[in-house]
């Protein structure tokens, strides 16, 4: 019921769809091209480095597997939170959103550790083509994760400090969730192409 109300809150449109949500899907679609360009660049440059360290020498698959699992579980936490809002369950909504923020921060911690480790192993943005394309791609992904964490934390605080309004918060968390899941699917592609097929 709440989810129907959430979509009925906007004025009538020619499509009958919420314009914010439709616009956000268009934005996410443009982001696929953004990340697609970086992934393509990485794939071309990864084996073109003249000096090391090379991908097979430095990439840590076990560590990245754990961080991938953390990000996948954060996606589950978002939908659990959204489900709580739609059903009017405040505790479930708060638990879902807080868990997402926590897991997102943990993922960023893994990435910070990885970047530091690579730096000490001699791989920087200027070392070789692999380093440049790797740090640009994963760095932009990390920046997207950071924005998602801030966005979801603001929504978490809004629900925590005031009354939960399913009609309003369901749409807000759904759109923020779309962004978060998009970040997740980008990582699914990165994990396979960059790490597993190194």
């Amino acid at each position: 019921m709440a989810q129907t109300d959430a979509h009925a809150l906007h004025p009538p449109t020619s499509t009958g769809l919420n314009t914010w949500k439709l616009g956000f899907w268009v934005f996410l679609s443009s982001e696929t091209l953004f990340f697609g360009s970086f992934i393509a660049t990485y794939m071309v440059y990864k084996s073109a480095s003249v000096v090391g360290p090379f991908p097979t020498e430095i990439l840590d698959i076990p560590l990245t597997s754990i961080s991938t699992f953390v990000l996948l579980m954060s996606s589950l936490a978002v939908v659990v939170g959204l489900d709580g809002i739609q059903k009017g369950k405040r505790k479930q909504a708060l638990a879902g959103l807080f868990t997402t923020v926590l897991l997102g921060a943990l993922f960023l911690g893994f990435q910070a550790y990885e970047f530091t480790h690579f730096y000490h192993a001699g791989l920087t943005l200027q070392t070789n083509l692999f380093g440049s394309s790797f740090f640009i791609l994963t760095g932009f992904h990390g920046a997207h994760v950071s924005i998602g964490i801030i966005w979801l934390f603001i929504l978490f605080m809004d629900i925590l400090r005031g009354p939960m309004v399913p009609e309003k918060h369901a749409l807000q968390v759904e759109v923020a969730g779309l962004y978060w899941h998009f970040v997740d699917i980008v990582w699914i592609v990165i994990f396979t192409l960059i790490y597993l097929l190194a």
Partner: protein, 109 residues
């Protein structure tokens, strides 16, 4: 009047979601598939089929998240067309650039 009916039909087509149980099952499947992917990358015997297999599993995970967590399975078809259309363009961009790189490599040697 006809336009109002059209809008109501679209509004009903938007905003459907899966159950909490389905979300958890999808989460478990994603975890298991990720574990399988990592295992494949470590098994030497899998080397001949490693690339197509890992790409297929990655695509399966991508689709599970998009269909269930992002609700495209239940939401308006307009969202699906927009997202799949540009995702296909991104895939073509990656493939095209890689093909160009391979051809250019041929010329270099």
């Amino acid at each position: 009047m006809a336009q109002e009916t059209h809008q109501v039909e679209h509004a009903h087509a938007e905003g459907g979601h899966a159950s909490l149980r389905t979300y958890v099952i999808i989460g478990v499947i994603l975890t298991v598939v990720t574990a399988i992917e990592v295992a494949i990358s470590y098994i030497p015997a899998m080397e001949p089929v490693e690339v197509p297999l890992l790409l297929a599993l990655s695509f399966a995970k991508f689709m599970l998240v998009v269909l269930f967590y992002m609700h495209l399975k239940f939401d308006s078809k307009i969202f699906s067309r927009v997202f799949y259309g540009l995702s296909l363009l991104a895939a073509l961009l990656i493939s095209g650039l890689l093909l160009f790189h391979v051809v250019l490599g041929e010329y270099r040697t």
